[in-house]
């Protein structure tokens, strides 16, 4: 069950241009959290009403703190990036379903700001892992932190590091093998992952994004189209914040 709390920021550092890493001290949420879940972050500015959904990047081993890694995309994330150690922030979580933990040889695929949730997943998955990370250019972040957990492959759009192209180009070029895929990243990337998984007949779990208002399944702002009728909505779409953000590739339309 999610809770709303005022959490203390215990660190805030910049990882790459526009990319920040923030640790929040909030034991109640940390205790319940699992990889692939997210938090709603609220702005201090009273004129910005809606929560910002941010994935959990790491859960401290003692379950007292959570790490978030985020890109400054607009006014809300800009506000967050200016908060300092010791400042407080309103958060709600943990939200969403998180990744299912299959015990199969896994390929973890993260693209851009979809990379952060893969880190806690990489730490938690108890199986052989290959990790494929896609960036725009050589301004990478978090990639070194994945090294303890599996073989790491990189792609960059401009070819400055790893394979030139996208994550699927890297998967193909390095012939990365696995029986299950976990992916998070921009929609075009997820489309590529879905096609690749279908082609190779392997399960793919992917984490989706949509604009949210309530974050808890009440407002129906954040739906994505589904192949079959959803049990809750009784129509062919489903709530990303509640039934997701992680879905089996074939269950959703991208």
């Amino acid at each position: 069950m999610a809770v709303q709390k005022r959490a203390r920021i215990t660190s805030q550092v910049q990882l790459a241009p526009g990319i920040f890493s923030m640790w929040l001290e909030e034991a109640e949420i940390a205790k319940k959290a699992s990889p692939g879940q997210f938090l709603s972050l609220y702005c201090n500015s009273e004129d910005r009403l809606l929560p910002r959904p941010i994935s959990i990047c790491e859960i401290k081993e003692d379950r007292t703190s959570l790490r978030l890694v985020y890109r400054v995309a607009g006014k809300g994330t800009e506000e967050f990036s200016k908060l300092k150690e010791g400042d407080m922030i309103q958060v709600m979580g943990p939200l969403g379903n998180g990744f299912p933990m299959e015990k199969k040889k896994a390929i973890l695929i993260g693209g851009g700001i979809g990379i952060p949730p893969m880190l806690e997943l990489a730490k938690s998955l108890d199986c052989e892992k290959s990790i494929v990370l896609g960036y725009r250019d050589k301004n990478t972040f978090l990639d070194k932190e994945f090294l303890p957990y599996g073989q790491v492959y990189l792609s960059t759009e401009d070819g400055s590091l790893g394979v030139k192209g996208n994550v699927i180009d890297a998967v193909r070029q390095y012939a990365v093998q696995g029986a299950v895929i976990y992916a998070c990243g921009p929609t075009p990337m997820l489309r590529g992952v879905k096609a690749y998984a279908l082609e190779h007949n392997i399960t793919a779990w992917m984490s989706l994004e949509e604009r949210m208002a309530c974050g808890i399944g009440a407002c129906l702002a954040c739906v994505c189209k589904t192949k079959e009728k959803d049990h809750h909505t009784n129509v062919d779409n489903t709530r990303i914040c509640k039934e997701g953000p992680v879905f089996k590739a074939e269950a959703v339309e991208l």
Partner: protein, 303 residues
């Protein structure tokens, strides 16, 4: 200190306190029950319910604006049967009034839902003739006095519960709509629904919402909502439920003073899932601080 009386009666239905939820911002209460004790609410008003399931609009369905938000959910809902079999039993576990918000594309749609609900354990019906986000989502009904009066009359013929007509603010003179609903036999009025607005993504050069326009809600609209509630409360004899940008107990007090007998908390639920409870606490605190024994003393006191 004497106990403060916060009870209000709307169309013969007594609420424990004058606070309900604004339709569409609280689902059927299920998700918010983790945060708020639903027993504390004067009433729960549900998301709009139609006869058959509705898929709603494409995404993006919402956009943030200064002190407000736009929504174009498009009245997605699972249909009245699922509502009756799943959501209503859930709500009946609680000691609160249940108000079902009803939507339709044609008069018949509305009447079928109203008829289907007539023998259900529902305390009041709120008829949404003001949703700007679906082509036939009611706003056509809500912007014309003749059709407001006519649909009210029809609904009243089928309804076994008291009928609240929910008015659109996208009109030249809200008093005319209020009078038409009263003439049609409405037991109460609720207002405001959202003001139609839009937002543009200047880098993509297109509208942010897939639906192009959406309904504006939140603190940004409060001055307009308060003005309309006051105008309507001065015009009709039936009770008014006021809403639009209520975030705090103080905001709610403004609406009560303007003439609303009760208030609804909407967009605030997204900013703070405890908003409804905090508004109730805030009303109590204000009454205590000002030495007011009965909330009814302040209703319409500015007039």
């Amino acid at each position: 200190m004497k106990m403060i009386n916060t009870k209000v009666t709307i169309a013969g239905v007594e609420w424990d306190n004058p606070v309900t939820t604004a339709s569409g911002t609280f689902g059927s209460g299920m998700e918010f029950a983790d945060f708020v004790d639903l027993n504390r609410l004067g009433a729960v008003t549900t998301k709009g319910v139609s006869y058959v399931p509705w898929t709603g609009n494409p995404v993006p369905r919402i956009a943030e604006t200064c002190s407000g938000m736009l929504n174009a959910i498009g009245l997605q809902n699972p249909g009245v049967e699922v509502f009756i079999n799943r959501d209503l039993p859930f709500l009946k576990q609680y000691d609160t009034r249940v108000i079902v918000n009803v939507c339709g594309k044609t008069t018949e749609d509305y009447l079928k839902v109203v008829e289907r609900l007539s023998d259900c354990a529902v305390d009041m019906l709120e008829i949404n003739i003001s949703c700007p986000n679906v082509k036939e989502g009611g706003i056509a009904f809500g912007q014309n006095t003749c059709s407001v009066e006519e649909i009210t009359r029809q609904v009243k013929r089928y309804a076994k519960q008291p009928v609240i007509m929910k008015l659109s603010p996208n009109v030249t003179d809200i008093r005319e709509m209020a009078k038409a609903a009263e003439a049609g036999g409405a037991d109460a009025l609720s207002l405001i629904n959202t003001l139609t607005g839009t937002k543009i993504d200047i880098y993509k050069r297109k509208f942010v919402l897939a639906n192009e326009t959406g309904g504006l809600s939140g603190p940004a609209v409060k001055p307009v909502a308060l003005r309309m509630v006051n105008q309507v409360a001065r015009t009709v004899k039936i009770p008014v439920i006021g809403m639009g940008g209520i975030m705090t107990g103080e905001d709610a007090i403004e609406f009560l003073m303007a003439g609303a007998t009760a208030v609804a908390v909407g967009t605030a639920n997204f900013r703070n899932p405890l908003a409804t409870a905090e508004v109730i606490d805030g009303i109590n605190d204000f009454l205590a601080k000002e030495g007011i024994q009965d909330v009814k003393e302040i209703i319409g006191c500015v007039n």
